[in-house]
Amino acid sequence: MVVYAGGNIGVALSSLFLDPITSSSGIQQVFVLFVMFYTMALGVGLALKAGLWNIGAQGQFLAGMVMVFVVYLYLGFMPWPLLYVAMILGAALGGLLWIAVPTLLRVKFGANEIVVTILLNVVAINFGFYMLSGPIKSPGTALGFPITTELPARFQIPNIISSIPITYAVPATIAIGIILYFLVERTPFRIKANTVGESSETARYAGISIPRVMTITMLTAGALAGLAGATYMMGYRYELDIGSFSTNYGLLAIIVALVGRKHMLGIGVAAFFFAYITFGAQSMAVATNVNSVVVFAMEGVMMVGILLGNYLSERKKIA
């Protein structure tokens, strides 16, 4: 595919494997992707433990990105440190509200959460367009290409060491992962969630409140995806335009959660692997003049490959 498009294999391979670690922008983007994949996949994995599919991380992520600017523009009267925190919490709240709809429909009406979260992804894009072309649009921008104002430096997430483009979002995300690991894998909640996920009958016998477990896991998942929106905007992009809508990171997070086998720490390893390969594929596409959407195609193939590998290794164990 790459060769066909006129590229050179050597260049392609070196940009796939070496660019992520040799260039400054490579290191930056790998960690940006890592933070987003890890945050969103934690939520997806958490919901999966309770047997719920959150296909809507992309929509919650979008709601989070929008909320960053809603808070920034409409609560601008707040003093700096407060507003900074409010923007992050606002993003989490945006994601939480976005998943509250499928959660409510699931818990109260038994509506399938897969279908509703998918539907809300489409709504989120339209909602994002609306917000972007009106309420949070920068007044100076040209018609037809709406964009928000750029967040000033004091509202950006700073680098840990100023010369290396790794922000505080990275240790913060890992901390969230570790906290969730202890909360989810090391407490009775794990058994509760797993029981709900595997058999609602058993859960009912055991006196576990199914709606409660479902609500907690789903809302946490939404808040995490919203949070990813905050780190993406405040830690990397600083302004929102239509380009950020079609990223599909929320769908990739589902793959990351599955590859990490729903384990709160395993997901972190999977997230890093996917971040590395995603950036590598992007820079390979650039080096060989292929449209960078080739990344999606590669990830699709890779995902089947990984699942196939999982399957084969499990079969060996049985045999």
Binding site: I55, I114, L119, V123, F296, L307
Partner: protein, 311 residues
Amino acid sequence: MTVNYSDVAIAVISTTLTLSPFYLFAGMGEIVSEKSGVANMGLEGIMLMSLVTTFIVDAVTGNPWIALLAAIGIAGVFGVVFGFFALRVRLDQIALGLAVYLFGLGFSLILYDVAFSSGSAPNYVSLPPIFSGWGTVPVIGIILLKQNILVYLSIVLVVLTALFLNRTSLGLRVRAVGENPKAADNMGVSVNKVRFLAIMFGAVMFGVAGSYFAGNFVPGFETNIIAGRGFIVLAMIYFANWKPYRVLFAALSFNIVYALQNEYISISGSSVASVSTLYNMLPYIFLLVLIPVFGRKARAPKFLLKPYRKG
């Protein structure tokens, strides 16, 4: 400003009829597949591939019918691949579906870029209307006669799918392997064979739907051009409780809401983009509101998403 309401009504009906086949072909394909216990969530990726194939083959051969066949062919290839991984390897169907979607999303644009690299755009319009020259006849001509044959076939397909599922023995077997594969197996039904046929029927229908999208929705091609409309089909089926006629109802009502807001925007002449994007959300909100109302009694095939292991 005076509004000619009969013109509006004609435009709304015409738009509804033009857009519905996409949802109907995809919907019938997905229903049969899901009835057998296999959800193909990669449908949008498959449709993107057949959409691009339509453009490319039409540009090469100049024949939209060959383009349609090629689109069906490429969708069939995806059906075989999907069937292999879902049935033989028993991969998680949701993960597999998303993988197929991502693959189609990326690879369709690569194909398009390679095929139309010199900046030339495909000049594919759509299949010709069956009654050419009648398109200017008032009311009937504009609403019915200017449509192409796939519009009529899509309605026929709904009837045939309902008959197939409820009145034929193969249809019974499709439902059986989705409801109780163990029992079906004991009765001598080859579960995976029936499921494979159902998947292939679905894939072929996605091929037709993807090909129909070209020229009837958004002109030209860009990344993610189907923009979630394939995923909407999954919501329609859920709302319709896996019943073909209700999918027809869902598709028509969804498109009427779409056409109404579309007409409203063009009549009100609102150039404020922010307002029109708000109206664009209406059809989806409409579906969303219907789901708790009608989806309450929805009952998925019992073994949907569950691979079957013999013995």
